[in-house]
């Protein structure tokens, strides 16, 4: 993958100095923020790498490592917590044999916990990629993962 030229394209689109939107676009482009991209942004914008990493590690939506093909997110917001989100998370960890924040060895799944999807009326909620599943029970988890 040509990180540098694609990062440059993103930089070209953002004329002002707002780095967060640039980093967001880089993240969308590659699924994570590669080291090469950070180095390139730093040299073009004259912003220290340490400052960029400061930003990247502060916000939970930036990833410094590639993630799995399917991102499974378990909502652990209050509504979901009360309705048993923790149990779903336990079950998923056991099924995928990974901890939260990790990716399976075959690169198929990444398991994450998030704080509220904004679909609390349907708690507990699990999302796979862009798809939102409401009222998730342990039965449903089997079905969701099989897909």
């Amino acid at each position: 993958m040509d990180f540098i030229s694609r990062t440059q394209e993103i930089l070209d689109k953002h004329s002002n100095n707002a780095v967060i939107p640039v980093l967001q676009d880089v993240q969308n482009e590659f699924g994570y923020v590669p080291e090469e991209a950070v180095a390139h942004i730093s040299s073009v914008t004259n912003i220290n790498k340490s400052r960029l990493y400061g930003i990247l590690t502060f916000y939970s939506q930036f990833y410094l490592k590639p993630r799995g093909k399917n991102i499974v997110k378990v909502c652990c917001g209050t509504a979901c917590h009360v309705k048993g989100a923790e149990k779903n998370l336990t079950k998923l960890k056991e099924l995928l044999k990974i901890k939260e924040g990790e990716t399976t060895a075959d690169g198929e799944f990444t398991l994450e916990r998030i704080a509220c999807m904004g679909a609390c009326g349907l708690a507990p909620v699990v999302t796979v990629n862009q798809e939102v599943h409401g009222n998730v029970t342990s039965d449903k988890i089997d079905k969701i993962i099989k897909k």
């Binding site: 916000y59 939970s60 939506q61 009360v82 079950k91 056991e94 509220c116 349907l122 089997d142």
Partner: protein, 618 residues
């Protein structure tokens, strides 16, 4: 659900109308399939069902959230000459029957209808801010215009900025983002601040985990928020406004973009708005996942492109805000109230509510109630009315234990507070806060120590680390709470917890730390017996804390059907088939509850774990 707004929209009543919620909640429940299914069925039966010049390709009308998420997918069907009918929990498979029976044969399908109990969901509500949610097409500005949209803006531009501020002051509008600061006053400060360049920010970060009011408002009626922003900018003298939206809300961002474009095209945004000489531009800023960025000073650092760290106030944003310029920051719902005040007048607005809290408040009612969803209630309504009348009572007729209001900065109120009125001051007095509107109901199965631990965990995760009390104090508090939940609590824990709570509250830099002890203090105050049971008896009364419970099969009820064995992800169940009773191995069991929900004879029970030595607590 016919109302005034709807009547304004219907100009041709000879058409069949179908409305489907396509908000995040609806889509999560499968609304997209239902939508497509209706389109297909109507097409193949050659039924013309459309609402006037709506741009929807499918001739089925898309709306935002109408609030009753528990019944998603909700579908309204209006056939000329028949009463309007709502169907609940619709799936794609039910659609052919609804089209055939209801639309073609004119006989509503009784078995799928929303029942009487759910009509009561709306009875005690006052839907004003949400008046258009679930009724209009959020992607079509004409719907907004047909329902008095942008008339408040026109009036504001006529009466001038000072009068606008006066009206907002007289109406008694207080900030809906948490603290309840009087909005008119804040605007007046910012207007009076020195400087030519000023900014307005709409706070749509909605960080409270368990709340989705702002998301729904933005998804279902984006123009109402834009109109509030434009009026607010005009009042304080800002020509540029920002909407800071959390990026977990892609649909809200999408609809805002559409709304901004349409408002520009029609001349409600941009240069020389409605020939008044006033210019205003609105930009969307996406958050990147940090709860603290909902705090105003942190939010501004984030827009400036830095880490979202809060700063001590003063200086307040009204003097020195974004890039050092006077800035006014308001919550989404606060701004959505503004057009109502300007258009209907302050006096009319202030008729609803209590003496010090005017108007209505939108809550996300979730947790263990039957009717979860988005509700809008007059200030002063009691908690009991919310839980039992609107919420329809507790799931499975269990016992109400507590209601958590205000999220991580709020508190848990128990049975003795059922009669407490919902207004800013009563809630603070009771140990909660109004917050932005998260309202999570808990029943006898919810452990209050676990809830305190849950929020502390959240705060620990989200603490930005700038100040010591929040960074380390909350960590120590979390350690103590975790220990108690794990059954390893010691006698001094309670006292230490109380002391830490006080210190963090008094010394943290920003609102995050200052309010972080609230969930602990309130559970402590009202549910101390649960803390004591955990520490003294090593017992979790709600049977929720994993270390303090175990699962046990009642042999007499076990039919050896092997379902539990199959569903167990950790192979903890022995026997269970070929006539042998199931037996759960405690050391292997991860307490995921899979077997519990699967067992057809309910033979698996949750019981107290063999307790360790009891501890003496004063």
């Amino acid at each position: 659900m016919s109302n005034e707004i709807k009547e304004k929209l219907i100009t041709d009543d000879s058409l069949i109308q179908i409305s489907i919620c396509l908000g995040t909640g609806g889509v999560a429940a499968g609304a997209r399939d239902v939508f497509n299914s209706f389109a297909k069925e109507l097409e193949s039966n050659q039924v013309e069902a459309v609402i006037k010049e709506r741009k929807c390709r499918h001739k089925v009308h898309q709306t935002g959230c109408r609030g009753l998420c528990a019944l998603d997918v909700l579908v309204d069907v209006l056939v000329p000459g028949m009463a309007e009918t709502s169907y609940a929990r619709v799936t794609a498979a039910m659609v052919p029957e609804i089209v055939q029976e209801h639309i073609i044969n004119k006989k509503p399908v009784e078995k799928y209808l929303v029942d009487e109990a759910h009509h009561r969901f709306f009875d005690k509500q006052k839907r004003r801010v949400l008046q258009r949610c679930g009724v209009i097409d959020p992607e079509d500005i004409n719907d907004y215009l047909a329902t008095d949209g942008y008339q408040a803006l026109a009036k504001a531009l006529r009466i001038g900025p000072e009068k606008v501020i006066d009206e907002v002051k007289t109406a008694g509008l207080r900030g809906r983002g948490g603290a309840g600061f009087p909005t008119g006053l804040k605007w007046a400060f910012c207007r009076a601040a020195e400087g030519d360049t000023k900014y307005l920010i709409c706070n749509a970060d909605e960080g409270d985990p368990g709340a989705f009011m702002d998301r729904s408002q933005l998804e279902s009626d984006p123009h109402s928020v834009l109109e509030g922003i434009i009026i607010g900018s005009y009042a304080i003298g800002a020509e540029k406004a920002f909407i800071y939206v959390r990026s977990e809300y892609p649909l809200a961002i999408e609809r805002l973009k559409i709304a901004i474009r349409q408002a520009k095209e029609k001349g409600y945004l941009g240069d020389n708005i409605l020939n008044s000489g006033f210019n205003c531009r609105i930009e969307i800023e996406k958050g990147s996942g940090a709860f603290v960025c909902g705090e105003e000073t942190a939010l501004m650092s984030s827009i400036e492109g830095n880490r979202g760290m809060p700063k001590p106030r003063p200086p307040y944003p009204a003097e020195k805000g974004l890039w050092g310029k006077p800035t006014n920051i308001n919550n989404v719902e606060t701004l959505a109230n503004v057009p109502l005040i300007i258009l209907g007048g302050a006096a009319q607005y202030a008729q609803i509510g209590t003496e010090k809290s005017k108007g209505t408040k939108v809550f996300a009612l979730t947790g263990k109630v039957n009717n979860t969803g988005l509700i809008e209630v007059p200030m002063g309504i009691t908690i009991k009315e919310i839980v039992y009348d609107i919420g329809g009572g507790i799931n499975n007729d269990k016992k109400f234990k507590a209601i958590q209001i205000g999220g991580p900065s709020g508190g848990c109120l128990g049975e003795s507070h059922l009669d407490t009125p919902i207004d800013y001051d009563s809630l603070v007095a009771a140990g909660a806060i109004m917050g932005s509107g998260g309202c999570v109901v808990m029943d006898e199965d919810t452990c209050m120590v676990d809830i305190a631990r849950y929020f502390m965990d959240f705060i620990q995760e989200e603490s930005c680390g700038k100040c010591v009390p929040c960074r380390i104090g909350t960590k120590r508090m979390l350690e103590i709470l975790t220990r108690i939940c794990d059954g390893e609590g010691v006698a001094e824990d309670l006292q230490n917890l109380e002391e830490l709570a006080k210190k963090v509250k008094n010394t943290a830099l920003c609102g995050l730390g200052q309010t972080a002890p609230n969930p602990v203090e309130s559970t402590f105050r009202y549910f101390k017996d649960e803390y004591l049971a955990h520490i003294k008896e090593k017992r979790c009364p709600a049977k929720a804390c994993k270390n303090l419970i175990k699962y046990r099969v009642t042999p007499d009820d076990c039919k050896s059907c092997a379902l539990c064995v199959k569903v167990c992800p950790s192979e903890a169940i022995l026997g269970g088939k070929k006539g042998v009773k199931a037996e759960i191995q405690n050391d292997k069991c991860i307490r995921c509850g899979a077997c519990l929900s699967k067992c057809p004879t309910k033979a698996i029970k949750v019981v107290d774990n063999d307790s360790a030595a009891a501890v003496e607590v004063k």
